[in-house]
Symmetry: C2
């Protein structure tokens, strides 16, 4: 089949998206680097930990929610650990896993820098969107994300019982299901 090129509307949308995401990520990164001395991803690590039960999460689970590779997360946590914002801890129920734990110092940094971060997100993004657009954006993005995480539709290689990642118990003993 001959390629289905992008329509003019799609082209415009695609280019606008590329530009916007580039500029947005730049703005966020720059601000966080200034105020918190770390890139956005590292901040997100802290933020996610702060919301987790007991402020700790398994590396794999954290990587999963952040949509990044384990390797990348290892690097981030190592750096954050060196700076004292995160501590590693062994999982008691699975000796392979290790947990990343947000330290008090890490929590403090998070609390100190969160307002500035939110301000930036507002100024760059939400202050420029109508409430309807916020809804549209969410709708669009959840759809895209869902699509990109699905087990590779298309081929006939669908016979594998692609069990959903089973243990969402981040550091807790496995549920009694």
């Amino acid at each position: 089949m001959t390629t289905r090129w992008l329509t003019p509307e799609e082209q415009r949308a695609w280019r606008a998206y590329i530009a916007a995401s580039q500029l947005l990520e730049d703005a966020i990164d720059r601000q966080l680097q200034q105020e918190a001395g770390m890139p956005h991803l590292f901040y997100s690590v802290l933020a996610n930990l702060s919301e987790a039960p007991d402020r700790r999460l398994r590396m794999t689970d954290l990587a999963e929610t952040l949509k990044i590779t384990r390797s990348r997360l290892t690097y981030a946590v190592t750096r954050l650990e060196r700076d004292g914002m995160v501590r590693r801890e062994d999982c008691r129920w699975d000796r392979r896993s290790s947990l990343a734990v947000l330290t008090d110092a890490g929590m403090a940094v998070l609390e100190r820098t969160a307002p500035g971060h939110v301000d930036t997100v507002r100024a760059s993004l939400f202050d420029r969107l109508t409430p309807e657009q916020v809804g549209q954006l969410e709708e669009i993005c959840t759809g895209i994300a869902r699509g990109l995480q699905e087990p590779e539709a298309g081929g006939a290689a669908e016979d594998v019982p692609w069990r959903r990642r089973s243990s969402p118990c981040s550091g807790q003993p496995p549920a009694q299901s």
Copy 2:
């Protein structure tokens, strides 16, 4: 003023956006790395050059349209030059500038890999959006991009005659305005 935190809707939108953009960029990068042996940005360099008059563009202009730093572009072009897809050329009307020129080899790679790239963009993004959503996405993104490029509103530091970047003549002699 106490921080205006994100509303639940905004939170959801923000997280969905982060996830989607991460996954999307990953998918695109992976595909291009496979088929073209280069990351998305490098491909974009080739693509932009291919559309430019005479297949050449000043470094600064290219960086400007790609929304990246000149430094980053220098790296990309250096690598692409080493691989023979791009050639540097001196600008005749401004001895400071240099032009990036798409070579025939570069054009060939572009033509060979464009279909696969477009397929990926379709599969990851547009096939999952309604026509209305495509419009919404463009609207949202152009707004964001415009906002993030404006000359830093807010302060009183607005007296500078922020002349818009004046010479869009990429390698051509300056217009007779």
